[in-house]
Symmetry: C2
Subunit: 391 residues, 2 copies
């Protein structure tokens, strides 16, 4: 079976150098060799996060780490008792809303002030400020930095500053930005920041990492109802011995360790520049082909530098059921819309190990399908525009 | 670096045929190819579990699935409100007690009746019966089938029958028995049964699977406070489309899929016989060398068929700090005791891909170390006794 080019926002393609590490034999997970892998991986991730906070790697997906963040901070208060802290969940896409769902599981609806914006529109700082002022005990703000579901980059620095002004902890999902975009976690004031393995880090899916600030620890330690598998106090206790509290997914740690070497070799500034150039090239091709970007930006939001969300050009006579299968038949998988956006957008990732050649191939295949369905009258313009940016 | 022989109760050695699958490229986790891998893996696991119940694979360790079981069944009731169900946690080792810890996180201490026996001693059915009679709303019984921490096999069938008599759900941790020992999950009356990937299945760590009965579903569906990442209702909804709710740890699924083919090729009856013979051989060598088994069996308990726990022969002049490092220097890693048993026992696994040759090598190395420290006067007796059983 021929290998497909995965241009979805995770799992991204994983290069052989990383994949092949996973064929290595198992090692003793309480021994020195694993301790070194874990220690070096945590150090490498701290550099990528630009953080001096504690950092942990969980054997689970990004959602596992999102739950770890909320569940460790938010004391469960089912029934009548008022929650100790409430959460303001800022959302303009699927993953932002996931924080609302998780917080409601832990604290009940009374613990959550959902601050939801139309998917793909820029979030408004004034509304966050108003919510922080009017919500009793507002002690946590959650937001997704790079909202993959809609291709928008949210203003982490500004929201982090607001949270601090109101004495709230700031939980920032950077699952699809850290490792590909500029994410100075400590500068952003993120008390918990999260990354997923299968995105900009270029590792297979199955691991997530999160950083935890001193202020977050105060709340976490006082919380008697922390989840068990994701209990950050247990993780911290084990990390003091360079171990994980439960058996780690060894092959994925081998892969992470290798990927972090590759990231160090490339250098984060180069890596960020590469991601920005690739996404800029995608946007140029989209515009050149007469398609339109899905996000409606405002003054504090930007297009994502790791995934591009494009309106499905149904007005040009091509639908999701033609566009994506048409591309896939030619060996390229792009993502559709999620939830209510199903059929209305498609998304092209430019993350992790994805190369300029992958971008050009994807855009070429996109143009072929658009041309075949007469949605464009000439092939090559988009690819040319992208190539100019990439070279 | 030379490969060590891992004779610990997980992660077990993984043979190249399984490991090499993990070097495969990533695939689209919402596409047909992954759907087939997942569907076939679930079918294969149902055969190994001997269950007709629903079955799910989680991207996480065995503990992740233990929490899934308790957290989905037990409604959180922090504070004053009485819990809807209470749990009787039967424990004679570390992992049995883990269920108590998890249940207390979810239901608070008032939701748990810990029924703890001295580690390594046989559990007593009468005490379970008494607890079920006297505990108000006792609706869940948890037990570990094969208690790895002490090398004992607990009477799953009898406890399952008791639970049913009292109308309680039965949660059975078979993390280190399923795939290596006879575990007819439905016959045992296990409403939730759990396996870990890195034990008898011979897969790397990072996955766990659990089966869920109709009776368990009734309780789970009515529970508003299910964990999020391990929400079994979400898993069921996704499994209807042969998907997982969150991005699966793809390489580990490749490995699981291949391991299940190997298990089918070997045949479960042969596989169980192999595990029993291997552990019998270990026990014979232990006895032949004048060492003693740690578990104190009663009429309803047996020695584990997948891991052997041996009293540290300190009376013969050798300590844990000599025995295990001595063996490791010779390339064999065995496990020590956990918690209060640290220094008091050592444990030899005979799980998954471990072969008769591995068993013999381990016993040979053990004898070398014992002989060197003058804990035995003659080498070869134990190995000879084991070889006789293995051939």
């Amino acid at each position: 079976m021929e290998e497909e080019l995965l241009m979805i926002p995770g799992p991204v393609p994983v290069i052989p150098r990383i994949r092949e590490t996973m064929a290595r034999p198992m090692i003793f997970h309480r021994g020195d060799e694993f301790a070194q892998i874990l220690r070096e991986s945590v150090e490498g991730l701290k550099n990528v996060f630009q953080t001096k906070n504690d950092l942990f790697v969980l054997s689970g997906s990004g959602t596992c780490a999102m739950e770890a963040a909320v569940g460790n901070l938010l004391t469960r208060a089912m029934g009548a008792r008022a929650p100790e802290l409430t959460v303001v969940t800022v959302a303009n896409g699927k993953f932002g809303e996931r924080f609302t769902e998780i917080a409601e599981r832990y604290g009940g609806p009374q613990a959550v002030t959902p601050l939801h914006f139309e998917w793909g529109t820029g979030i408004e700082l004034e509304r966050i400020k108003a919510a922080l002022e009017s919500t009793p005990n507002a002690g946590i703000v959650t937001m997704v930095h790079n909202e993959t579901s809609v291709g928008i980059l949210n203003p982490a620095r500004a929201v982090g500053k607001l949270a601090k002004q109101y004495g709230a902890l700031f939980v920032l999902d950077c699952i699809t930005s850290i490792g590909g975009d500029e994410v100075p976690v400590d500068e952003f004031g993120a008390d918990i920041a999260i990354v997923g393995s299968q995105k900009c880090l270029g590792v297979p899916p199955g691991l997530a990492a999160l950083s935890v600030s001193e202020q977050a620890w105060e709340q976490i330690r006082a919380n008697p109802s922390r989840p068990y598998y994701q209990d950050l106090v247990s993780h911290k206790k084990s990390m003091d011995k360079d171990q994980t509290p439960y058996t780690p997914a060894l092959p994925l740690f081998y892969a992470l360790h290798e990927a972090l070497k590759i990231i160090a070799e490339e250098g984060m500034p180069n890596r960020i520049a590469r991601h920005r150039t690739m996404s800029k090239a995608v946007r140029a091709a989209i515009t050149e082909n007469g398609l339109t970007m899905f996000p409606k930006l405002n003054e504090v939001s930007q297009y994502s530098n790791t995934v591009t969300a494009v309106n499905m050009p149904v007005d040009k006579g091509i639908s999701d059921s033609e566009l994506r299968p048409g591309m896939r038949k030619r060996g390229v998988v792009v993502a559709g819309g999620q939830g209510d956006l199903k059929g209305k957008i498609f998304r092209i990732a430019s993350m992790g190990n994805i190369t300029s050649a992958d971008i050009l191939k994807t855009l070429e295949v996109l143009e072929e399908v658009l041309y075949e369905k007469k949605a464009i009258t000439r092939k090559g313009n988009g690819v040319a525009a992208a190539r100019e940016i990439l070279t």
